[in-house]
């Protein structure tokens, strides 16, 4: 008997394949984008974790040189023989691959590769890396392919790396967590080294969090939209099956049996939908991952594997969410069935017609949420609250939308019978369409918000590049000798040369880069500040003050006139704060003279050169000073490289834009189709009164167009509010910089066009169905009127 009941229940879906399709697609879309985004995020996080574990940077304190980037090996031995348990690392970058030379005998046991990578003392000649690294290094060295090694990294014995690159020194020393008692102070053994605490070494995961949150927000948005679809399909299916359920119960099927079978039936369908979604999610993630990888690498220097693996954390969370969402919709219906009198009448559309009162109630709730959001904008701090603000803003607006639309329809123009009927009919359809309209509103406003943020970022970044990359040529030399020869050579020819002096040293207890700059026309003219004293450059040139970047300033709650520690015992006031985008690290800029006094050993190996004749100067430097071609970089090419990172970010954003709009369009199509099937009884009298089927079809299209325009108009202020919140709260909290907001009306118009197009496509099918509906079907309404 169980079989028979289940077959009866399932037969509904075979008779309504469109609803089956809606149900499965709704679930698949919801799980698809969600799990796709989760897949990207978990892949990226796994890569960061692997990198942190492999390089030991996130886990262990390290000893680094106070100046320069090399530690003599004898210093390492002295430290070990003085009870400092440290493990040596030599980092060398070659062909874009970071060679990490380690001593497997002394690495902390907590480091992941010491076992995974299959190091053996017998074969210390081996080099390990992933497949991509192996192919990059083909012809240079043989690489043993090991998937557990993070992208862009080749791991080998320290002796191998020293031999390969003819080095005899080390880059950094990892401090083992357990140290013996009776250990002398560092200054007694190696005063030239400084401890760099582990948690302060650029925590890639935290830095990239905001980027991944962006993705997650998109994923969640489409999940919510997908669940709207599922919710309404389940509602429709149950309402239409009331008759069948009544019949089955009248035939003697116990309520408990019926309910368990309904749950089994739904469970099967949700499983199918969710699996479809996972497949879809995997495809989306695989498509987007290369761009995401390029973005985070460009922005943060974090490497993400370009290949996707099926991690349980994302596919399980996708399936789990699908069951949770469908379960919630189902629970309401099951409760209704339990309450339903055995012989209650079938009430088509009853499910869809919410009273105007209910719509108003929901709108009041929405306004309260908007109020919360406004309150958070005034008093909120922290990333979590920034996201709560955005959440309240979006949900509140979504809840207000149906009521607002009905109110707006009150002002609809036109007189005459048909026009009045048209608007009244539109209002009457609002309850059924409101979920689809909300989906469209969320999709469009999220797109406006995110693209405003990303484009504002881009505009700011381009002008930032212009000031930072003012010199036309950058020359990099390997030796001190060549460096001084180059400087002399250029000064003799009266060409402005800007040596780039830099050391890494903790400032305010955090790792930072210190720069020594030659104050001259270039800096005075091209640098713009977020806040500054009037005579910034004079103070800097005299060594009386420094310039810090925004990240350092905001992170430590410092601003102009506050002091920072530049060297042991030397604190200088901040003369200006400069915007510095796409860089997680703190920076301090000081005058060249002061820098050379503090770090007499630091040698400038990079120079910026001002010239109007880049091509000839480039040739001359190459010929006269034997600087290799690869050592001279045209400013334009650096700029292109940086911009490319942003193009990749846009590619990810654009792809997600299209996908979320697609989901919204689908929601619209399904709502319209569902309504169209049930509206025949209402359209038949209008047709009988003389409106042709074609005219009715056109009116259907016009309605969809009108509604989508209303939604779009509402979406613009919502999207801009979203962008404002992202730029003023999320960015400051997550990246440490605030961006000015720019407006991009052409982009919004294009988005509006896309939204209207999606709606029209969605409305076209039901409209065509209307046009083609046989007169007999319309007539039947009258003969079988209930």
């Amino acid at each position: 008997m169980t079989n028979t009941i289940l077959r009866a229940l399932l037969s509904y879906w075979w008779r309504s394949p469109l609803q089956l399709f809606t149900f499965l697609m709704g679930l698949a879309l919801a799980t698809g984008l969600w799990s796709g985004v989760q897949a990207i995020n978990s892949e990226a996080r796994a890569s960061y974790d692997a990198a942190a574990a492999t390089l030991g940077e996130g886990q262990f304190d390290q000893l680094v040189p106070r100046a320069g980037d090399r530690i003599p090996q004898s210093v390492y031995i002295n430290l070990r023989r003085a009870a400092w348990l440290v493990s040596p690392v030599l980092d060398v970058t070659y062909k874009g691959v970071r060679f990490v030379g380690i001593d497997p005998l002394t690495t902390p046991t907590q480091m992941s590769f010491s076992s995974d990578a299959g190091f053996s003392l017998e074969d210390t000649d081996l080099i390990f890396g992933n497949a991509k690294v192996a192919s990059v290094l083909e012809g240079f060295v043989d690489v043993i392919i090991d998937k557990s090694i993070p992208p862009g990294i080749a791991i080998a014995d320290i002796g191998v790396v020293q031999r390969l690159f003819k080095r005899s020194d080390l880059s950094r020393l990892m401090i083992l967590p357990e140290q013996p008692i009776r250990r002398p102070d560092l200054v007694e053994i190696a005063p030239e080294l400084v401890v760099q605490p582990s948690q302060q070494i650029a925590d890639v995961a935290a830095l990239t969090d905001s980027f991944h949150l962006n993705l997650t927000a998109f994923g969640f948005l489409s999940f919510a939209v997908g669940l709207f679809i599922v919710h309404s399909t389940i509602g429709l299916a149950f309402e239409q099956r009331r008759g069948m359920i009544r019949t089955l119960r009248s035939l003697g099927v116990p309520l408990s049996n019926l309910l368990s079978l309904i749950i089994v039936e739904m469970g099967l369908l949700v499983l199918v939908g969710a699996i479809l979604g996972i497949v879809m999610g995997y495809t989306i993630a695989a498509m987007l991952l290369p761009d995401v990888a390029a973005t985070v690498e460009g922005l943060y220097g974090a490497r993400v594997s370009g290949t996707l693996s099926l991690r349980p954390e994302w596919w399980l969370s996708g399936i789990g969410l699908a069951f949770l969402g469908a379960g919630m919709a189902l629970a309401v219906r099951i409760w209704q069935i339990m309450q339903m009198p055995l012989l209650s009448a079938v009430q088509p559309r009853a499910w869809a017609i919410a009273s105007a009162k209910r719509i108003r109630g929901i709108a009041i709730l929405g306004m309260i949420l908007l109020g919360f959001s406004g309150l958070l904008a005034l008093i909120g701090t922290g990333l979590g609250q920034a996201f709560a603000l955005i959440g309240f803003l979006l949900i509140g607006s979504a809840l207000v939308l149906p009521w607002l639309t009905i109110k707006l329809l009150d002002f609809a123009p036109g007189k005459g019978v048909v026009t009045s009927w048209f608007w009244a009919d539109t209002r009457q359809q609002m309850p059924g369409l409101s979920l689809a309209l909300i989906a469209l509103l969320l999709a469009v406003s999220a797109n406006i918000g995110v693209s405003t943020m990303v484009s504002s970022f881009r505009v700011t970044f381009v002008s930032f590049l212009d000031q930072r990359l003012a010199p036309e040529l950058f020359v990099r030399v390997d030796e001190e000798k060549t460096a001084s020869a180059l400087e002399k050579y250029l000064l003799e020819r009266d060409i402005e040369v800007l040596p780039l002096l830099t050391v890494e040293r903790p400032v305010v207890g955090q790792p930072a880069k210190l720069y020594g700059v030659r104050v001259g026309r270039t800096y005075r003219e091209s640098w713009q500040f977020l806040g500054a004293d009037p005579d910034v450059w004079d103070q800097v040139a005299r060594g009386e003050a420094v310039i810090v970047n925004e990240q350092l300033a905001r992170r430590n709650n410092l601003w102009v006139a506050d002091e920072v520690d530049i060297a042991p015992g030397l604190n200088l006031p901040i003369a200006a704060v400069v915007g510095d985008y796409g860089n997680p690290q703190g920076q301090v800029v000081m005058g060249e003279l002061l820098f050379r006094k503090l770090y007499p050993n630091a040698v400038a190996t990079s120079f910026g050169i001002r010239t109007t004749d880049t091509a000839n100067l480039r040739k001359a430097i190459q010929a006269d000073l034997e600087v290799p071609d690869s050592g001279i970089i045209n400013q334009a090419s650096i700029k292109n490289m940086s911009l490319e990172v942003f193009e990749r970010t846009f590619a990810v954003t654009a792809a997600l834009n299209i996908l979320t709009l697609g989901v919204a369009g689908f929601a619209m199509l399904m709502s319209l189709l569902t309504l169209a099937g049930m509206r025949t009884p209402q359209l038949a009298p209008v047709w009988a009164l003389g409106l042709t089927r074609t005219r009715l079809g056109v009116l259907e299209l016009a309605r969809a167009l009108g509604l989508s325009l209303i939604v779009f108009i509402c979406a613009i202020p919502l999207g801009l509010a979203l962008a404002w919140a992202l730029l003023n709260f999320v960015n400051v909290e997550a990246f440490g910089w605030q961006l000015p907001m720019f407006f991009f009306p052409a982009d919004y118009a294009f988005l509006g066009g896309l939204a209207v197009l999606a709606t029209l496509i969605a409305a076209a099918w039901p409209a065509i169905q209307m046009v083609r509906k046989p007169p007999a079907a319309l007539l039947k309404v009258f003969s079988s009127e209930r």
Partner: protein, 333 residues
């Protein structure tokens, strides 16, 4: 010697190239106090029975091991030599153990002979010669700093230092200095403790000390109240039989070696240590010397929880002879 076995596969590639111990070897001191990089494994193995101010018994171990993946020495990271070391202090209530590792060729560890210095990181066993040494080691929980003074000659095991380890002929070079007086300070979590006692240094090197059928060994160094001493070991074979060897050392350092079968050791009580059943009470016999005594671990949980774990700790002797000593047991699964 479990490390010897566990590291057995380590150098299999170059096994044939390593030097092997030969009979009638003539030791050349002080050079033979130093490293023999052409042999696969080697150690400088110091154990001591100590007594605190209130008569509390302690044990101490300091061992530097050398193992090679290929014979010979090279400068820098390409050296085939690997050094590691174990240090431990045993009290009646606790056992502290720690280890260190180092690559050869870079100066992090090594042995020089004149003056004598065996070191790894800050740990060292050093002195003007082997008769007068100091020894230091430290870990996150304990440290020690001791002085050693030899009151007797070096003693040679087996046939003048050629110590056979199996019927098939595996052997090592093996000599000891069992006559050290030792004094110094133990730094333990409960505080610093001044101690005195006696120490025993073993020197051994070989290339293939265990045969395939041997699964572990039990090694005893016993100092009796009358001033005589005995070193005895048994290698446990997978067929249940044993290969034993012993050296009797009289008060003047005169030795008599005993072949397989003369020395007998049988476990009479086991304890659950680190998830294994470890014999902590033994009956040891050497009938030629009238020895029939019980050897009891001072601290049953003297487990060396290092990369290649084993049991090593101080023991008390009672029966036909009374005294103290050290026991090492390896290969217990």
């Amino acid at each position: 010697m479990a490390w010897a076995q566990s590291f057995g596969g380590l150098g299999s590639k170059a096994a044939d190239e390593f030097a092997t111990p030969l009979r009638n070897f003539v030791f050349d001191f002080p050079n033979d106090h130093g490293a023999h990089p052409d042999y696969r494994i080697e150690w400088w193995y110091l154990t001591a029975n100590l007594e605190g101010p209130s008569g509390v018994q302690y044990g101490l171990q300091w061992t530097l091991f050398r193992t090679a993946v290929a014979p010979g020495e090279e400068k820098g990271w390409s050296s085939p030599q690997v050094w590691f070391a174990h240090a431990a202090v045993t009290t009646p209530e606790a056992h502290f153990a720690t280890e260190r590792f180092a690559r050869g060729g870079i100066g992090q560890a090594g042995v020089t002979v004149e003056p004598f210095r065996a070191w790894i990181d800050e740990w060292k066993l050093e002195g003007p010669d082997m008769n007068s040494l100091s020894v230091q080691a430290a870990s996150p929980d304990f440290a020690f700093d001791m002085d050693l003074l030899a009151t007797g000659p070096l003693v040679f095991h087996g046939e003048n230092g050629f110590s056979q380890k199996s019927a098939e002929g595996q052997a090592s070079y093996y000599y000891s200095q069992p006559f050290y007086k030792i004094s110094g300070t133990l730094n333990l979590p409960e505080g610093d403790i001044s101690v005195t006692g006696s120490a025993w240094l073993d020197r051994e090197w070989s290339s293939q000390p265990l045969s395939d059928s041997q699964k572990g060994w039990d090694w005893f160094s016993l100092s009796f109240e009358d001033g005589e001493k005995m070193m005895g070991f048994q290698l446990r074979q997978s067929d249940g039989n044993h290969y034993t060897s012993a050296t009797w050392i009289d008060v003047n350092g005169e030795t008599q070696s005993y072949p397989d079968g003369a020395f007998m050791a049988e476990p009479i009580e086991e304890a659950r240590v680190a998830g294994r059943d470890i014999p902590i009470r033994w009956r040891v016999r050497l009938s030629d010397r009238g020895l029939d005594a019980e050897v009891l671990a001072l601290m049953p949980k003297a487990w060396m929880d290092v990369s290649i774990p084993y049991w090593e700790g101080p023991v008390g002797i009672s029966g036909s002879h009374n005294g103290r000593g050290y026991l090492e047991m390896t290969g217990y699964q």
